[in-house]
């Protein structure tokens, strides 16, 4: 037993002495969670920290002479809210507008048919033509601006046709202060859940899986530095060496996990749920899965470099297919994603964040335990088969 502790203590000392290791283990995860959280959750805010750069929109009015040009469009374009987003420019003809869009002079173009105003007022068909420009996001912004304008006219026209023109003035009443759409709470009670929590959880899973890298480095460095010979000459059993190393790296991983959870909680206000015991159990299972997976890889890979690239590749791929990095096609997450370890860990953690009842969490826990059991068996089998020799 003392041997195991000696080896574990040495492992700890070795890891904590390396500055790079410390940066990797404790700083990077927090940086990544910050990046993801602020890149994606800022979007849903009130748009305070986003400045929109107005772009030029070519406007063509097909009316024969200037006096017949659409008043509605004219006053709409002059309204202050619109002027912040787009800069309207009058183009002479449809051809001029199209060539302007093609050359990039205009970001977007809108063709107003002749007699637009009259058609709207008399309840006829009235359609603007949009010409899409070169920038995808500009296209989206311009389409939204004009579509909102048109939809307002459309509803007004419908109201006027049904209720009579006096309805128009009634519609101009200022709207209520509360927004008509709100983000709902996914959970029954407890604290509110934000989208950045998802990424905090997914990154935690990724870094727990990356713990295995330390095992690979440690196992191979004994071989490469020829220190395995020396250990072999000591009264240390192979299993003791293994257990000692696992214990040392396990302790570091637990510390890392705790650091991520506490730092994100206090720095970014990530709420990790009301079941600290089960959260700890889930993290331990993830760490166990990661360690045993790496042992299996280390047993079969030829060199340290190939073992490391296989394990980091697997980690990134699993994080990716579990949907933790970038949005994937919807059907993927529940089919392909289920083959990753992250998927089950992530599910469990998310349900804890949402304070779901235990029955919903136990499924993920059972699945993770099963994965751990299989990987443990694999690691044991491969150790017996291949062994750990100098």
């Amino acid at each position: 037993m003392t041997n195991i502790w000696t080896i574990a203590a040495y492992e700890l000392r070795r890891l904590f002495r390396s500055r790079t290791m410390l940066i990797n283990l404790f700083l990077l995860p927090i940086l990544l969670i910050f990046l993801l959280g602020s890149a994606l959750s800022g979007v849903i805010g009130e748009g305070k920290d986003r400045t929109i750069h107005p772009f030029r929109v070519g406007i063509v009015d097909a009316a024969a002479n200037p006096s017949e040009r659409s008043q509605m469009i004219g006053s709409f374009l002059k309204s202050p809210g619109v002027a912040e987003i787009i800069t309207p420019e009058i183009a002479d003809s449809r051809e001029a507008a199209v060539s302007g869009v093609r050359s990039g002079e205009y970001g977007y173009a809108v063709i107003v048919p002749a007699g637009f105003d009259q058609d709207v007022q008399s309840g006829q068909q009235a359609k603007l033509e949009y010409i899409l420009g070169k920038d995808r996001s500009d296209n989206m912004v311009a389409a939204t601006v004009f579509d909102n304008f048109l939809s307002k006219i459309n509803y007004t026209q419908a109201a006027a046709l049904t209720l009579g023109p006096q309805a128009i003035s009634a519609m101009l009443e200022p709207g209520q202060a509360s927004p008509s759409v709100v983000l709902g709470k996914l959970n029954e009670g407890g604290q509110s859940y934000t989208a950045s929590q998802f990424y905090a959880a997914s990154m935690l899973m990724m870094f727990l899986l990356l713990c295995g890298q330390m095992v690979i480095t440690s196992l191979y460095s004994e071989k490469d530095n020829h220190t395995l010979f020396r250990i072999g000459s000591m009264p240390v059993k192979g299993s003791e060496l293994f257990r000692g190393k696992m214990l040392g790296i396990g302790i570091v991983s637990v510390l890392q996990c705790a650091a991520i959870i506490f730092a994100t909680h206090f720095l970014f206000g990530v709420y990790w749920g009301n079941r600290p015991g089960i959260l700890a159990l889930l993290c331990l299972l993830m760490i166990l899965a990661s360690l045993t997976l790496s042992v299996t890889i280390a047993m079969f890979a030829q060199t340290a470099a190939s073992a490391r690239s296989i394990s980091s590749g697997l980690t990134v791929v699993m994080t990716f297919i579990s949907g933790g990095m970038a949005p994937l096609p919807d059907s993927w997450v529940n089919t392909g994603g289920a083959f990753s370890i992250n998927h089950w860990g992530l599910r469990g953690v998310l349900r804890m964040m949402l304070e779901s009842p235990l029955s919903q969490i136990s499924g993920s826990l059972a699945m993770l335990s099963l994965i751990c059991l299989v990987l443990l068996g694999l690691a044991f089998f491969s150790y017996r088969k291949v062994g750990y020799h100098a």
């Binding site: 979007v43 899409l132 996001s137």
Partner: protein, 425 residues
């Protein structure tokens, strides 16, 4: 010059000279990138699945769903209750959920401000646009409800005050007035009965759903498809990972003191540096070419921009990431840790540079920070080329990439200090 070529050629031979090297560095990348293209290339064209539950008995709830369906951007899936909807969002059956509460129509008409709820597990472009679209419809519906409400009060007042009032209103309206229901251009319900605002609102919504006022989109395909950004993004991420492996070969040389031996030959140190970089750049070029050709001719994927420009973009990016990898390797002397840190630099820079999502959805300060990341410029160059821009616009991203490469390679050549073995720590 001769020495440089010898060193470069030797590095190329060592990396892809053997069958194993050929499989690891040339064939595997081709296969993996094909899978990436196959998986993500189609993703941009998919409709986002949106779950909804409509507990509203009135006409408004159905109208909101019909309008969302009409946009053509979402594949809508119905859930029976709010609880089911939330469970569906939690299980990631759809990208977002939309819940219309019970009694939405009646509370709208009662002049209250009912709210539509949106549920999301993680922020995505689809959930943002859904929120905007639903918010817009919701605002309009409130205005309509207020119009119906005031029409009701006018009507009620009218009947109370007698026919004169009603006549005044109807004469003021001039054209088609729904007040009396006689002229009835639309045959709407009788507005006289203030008790039927519900039916009035339904009639208005039916009118609105005909979309007399609307828009037609003319699409000359001037903008890059969403799929292109994703494919480029993942390609960049993958290339960066590949470069790390070729730089680690150079690192091995130093660790095994091969570099020292080269130094004892009549070779200048700059020749060692240039030779090594040239060698790993050649391997990178071959990788890029293979990946591009496999994508184009085996998968038949249309990159939407001239192949040679795409090739140049990727090659320029390759050069920058070589510089980045060697700089990091130079700063961190232990090659074991260098590999790990490189992998961890890769993910954040890819996120920041817009490999996984469009830069435009990030907050402003993050967009500014993205300027320092090479991925952003590579994606921008690909986008510009895809929209048919010439070199008059393309020079900027290329110049930035070139400058980054020059600076990083200059710093990175520090790893080639052959006198130091650098295995400590």
């Amino acid at each position: 010059m001769h020495n440089i070529m010898t060193i470069a050629w030797n590095l190329v031979k060592r990396m892809i000279g053997s069958r194993r090297g050929l499989i690891a560095y040339i064939i595997m990348p081709g296969v993996i990138v094909s899978i990436i293209i196959w998986m993500t290339g189609g993703a941009g064209n998919d409709k986002a699945t949106v779950l909804y539950s409509n507990l509203d008995k009135g006409s408004v709830g159905a109208h909101v769903i019909a309008e969302l369906k009409k946009t053509g951007d979402y594949a809508l899936v119905e859930k029976k209750s709010e609880g089911e909807l939330r469970a569906g969002v939690l299980n990631e059956e759809g990208r977002a959920g939309l819940d219309i509460p019970a009694g939405y129509t009646s509370s709208l008409l009662a002049g209250q401000a009912p709210q539509i709820h949106i549920y999301e597990l993680k922020t995505s472009e689809a959930s943002i646009t859904l929120k905007m679209k639903a918010g817009e419809i919701g605002d309009r519906l409130r205005e309509l409800a207020s119009a119906v409400g005031s029409a009701g009060t006018i009507a009620a007042a009218g009947t109370a005050e007698g026919t004169t009032g009603a006549r005044a209103v109807s004469s003021a309206s001039g054209t088609a007035s729904a007040m009396s229901g006689t002229s009835g251009t639309v045959g709407g319900p009788d507005a006289n009965s203030a008790a039927a605002p519900d039916a009035q609102l339904t009639a208005i919504l039916q009118q609105a759903e005909q979309h007399r006022v609307g828009s037609l989109k003319t699409d000359y395909n001037l903008y890059p498809r969403q799929g292109l950004d994703t494919v480029t993004g993942f390609m960049l991420m993958f290339l960066m990972a590949m470069v790390t492996s070729s730089v680690s070969v150079i690192m091995d040389d130093r660790r095994q003191r091969t570099m020292m031996r080269i130094f004892s030959a009549p070779v200048r140190s700059y020749e060692i540096a240039v030779g090594n970089f040239l060698g790993s750049f050649t391997v990178g070029i071959i990788q890029v070419a293979v990946v591009l050709l496999v994508g184009r001719y085996v998968l038949n994927y249309n990159y939407e921009l001239p192949m040679y420009i795409y090739f140049l973009v990727l090659a320029a990016f390759m050069l920058v990431s070589m510089g980045l990898a060697s700089t990091v390797a130079g700063l961190i002397r232990n090659p074991n840790n260098a590999g790990m840190l490189n992998a961890l630099i890769l993910t954040p820079t890819c996120m920041l540079g817009g490999c996984f999502w469009p830069i435009s959805i990030m907050p402003d300060y993050m967009q500014k920070a993205a300027n320092f990341v090479p991925q952003k410029w590579a994606i921008q160059a690909a986008d510009l080329a895809a929209t048919g821009s010439g070199w008059s616009e393309l020079w900027l991203p290329f110049a930035v990439l070139g400058l980054m490469a020059a600076i990083l390679l200059a710093i990175g050549s520090a790893i080639l200090r052959p006198t130091e073995a650098g295995i400590s720590a």
